[in-house]
């Protein structure tokens, strides 16, 4: 028997011991590194079915908030309100949805932004909405849909911000959270590169989420 074969045999015979030791070491490293462990040694989640159910719950939270504020026919109701009432209704929807989704929104800003529909401020935990579309008289169904889509688009950014910090707490798979975290660090504004803005993961996701919510109701 050659030296190599002897070594191989030795390793095979002590495989159980090696496996236990490696597992112990990994556990110690994980404990020592805390959250950093996930950054270095990444393993994907396996409970996708549960995570998908949580995503559905988030959509239902949005629909519940809309129903509570605007009733059964939200588009018609929003169109029939005065501009001041619309502003109030949207602020209420933001507050209720944030509460149901356990996300923190400290400020809701209504302003004249001209070139953008709204924004989410990460540092100020604020959602801003363009008031020009809100005060449109008469408000068309398309504008009503667009305004509500913007609300849920910006709320989704707030959710992404929370989820990429604590994916387990916010029931988001860690792979997606990791992609969002990287995207937040390298966020592309529409004015600098509109094509890459449109295609970046956090914008794609916020657009898809808002569409899923808004497509659930029609006047």
């Amino acid at each position: 028997m050659s030296v190599y074969e002897k070594i191989k045999e030795k390793i095979i015979s002590s495989a159980g011991y090696v496996k236990t030791k490696v597992s112990e070491m990994a556990s110690k490293v994980q404990k020592f590194l805390g959250d950093l462990y996930d950054e270095i040694v990444f393993t994907p989640d396996e409970d996708y079915e549960r995570l998908e159910a949580c995503e559905q719950e988030r959509i239902e939270s949005c629909l519940r908030a809309i129903a509570e504020v605007l009733g059964e026919n939200p588009l018609n109701r929003l169109m029939s309100l005065s501009p001041q009432e619309r502003a109030l209704a949207l602020c209420l929807i933001v507050e209720k949805t944030a509460e149901y989704m356990s996300i923190e929104i400290d400020n809701i800003i209504l302003g004249d932004f001209e070139d953008i529909n709204g924004y989410y401020s990460e540092a100020n935990r604020a959602i801003a909405l363009d008031i020009q579309r809100l005060i449109e008289e008469p408000m068309t169904e398309s504008t009503a849909k667009g305004v509500l889509a913007t609300v849920f688009h910006e709320l989704r950014h707030a959710y992404q911000h929370n989820a990429c910090k604590s994916p387990a707490l916010y029931n988001m798979d860690r792979a997606t959270a990791r992609i969002w975290r990287t995207n937040f660090k390298n966020y592309i504004s529409p004015s600098k590169n509109p094509r890459r803005y449109f295609n970046q993961p956090v914008e794609q996701d916020a657009r898809d989420f808002a569409l899923l919510v808004v497509d659930c109701f029609n006047s």
């Binding site: 001209e114 070139d115 953008i116 529909n117 709204g118 924004y119 989410y120 401020s121 990460e122 540092a123 100020n124 667009g146 889509a149 913007t150 688009h153 910006e154 950014h157 937040f184 660090k185 390298n186 966020y187 592309i188 504004s189 529409p190 004015s191 600098k192 590169n193 509109p194 094509r195 890459r196 803005y197 449109f198 956090v202 914008e203 916020a206 657009r207």
Partner: protein, 115 residues
């Protein structure tokens, strides 16, 4: 011929692009159609904006109505020519932004300092 080093410096120092986006945008500029590339290079060298129209948009109105950086407007016009449905969907939905991302801004400032 594009001077990539100069272009990167202009994008970062003059137009406030962070390093990563500057590098990505250089790749986008290199892939522009010839007429749009020529106009974009003209803007980079002389600050002169040559208007290019791809129906239903033109560079000047993108800068005016959407507050686009001229480089961004040239990229959009090229996108509109190559993928009209997607570009128009983007325009139709409108733009939003995520602001006050502290880490990213700090990193961008550090990069400019290193240049």
């Amino acid at each position: 011929m594009i001077d990539e080093k100069k272009l990167k410096s202009v994008l970062m120092k003059k137009h406030n692009y962070d390093r990563e986006l500057a590098l990505q945008t250089i790749e986008d500029i290199k892939a522009l159609d010839e007429d749009i590339l020529e106009a974009a290079q003209g803007f980079i060298n002389t600050d002169e904006i040559k208007n290019i129209t791809v129906e239903p948009c033109d560079v000047a109105s993108l800068i005016e109505a959407y507050n686009m950086n001229p480089i961004g407007a040239y990229i959009f016009i090229d996108w509109l020519r190559k993928e009209p449905n997607k570009a128009l969907q983007c325009l139709g939905l409108g733009f939003d932004e995520i602001k006050d991302i502290e880490d990213a801004e700090e990193e961008a400032q550090e990069e400019i300092g290193e240049e």
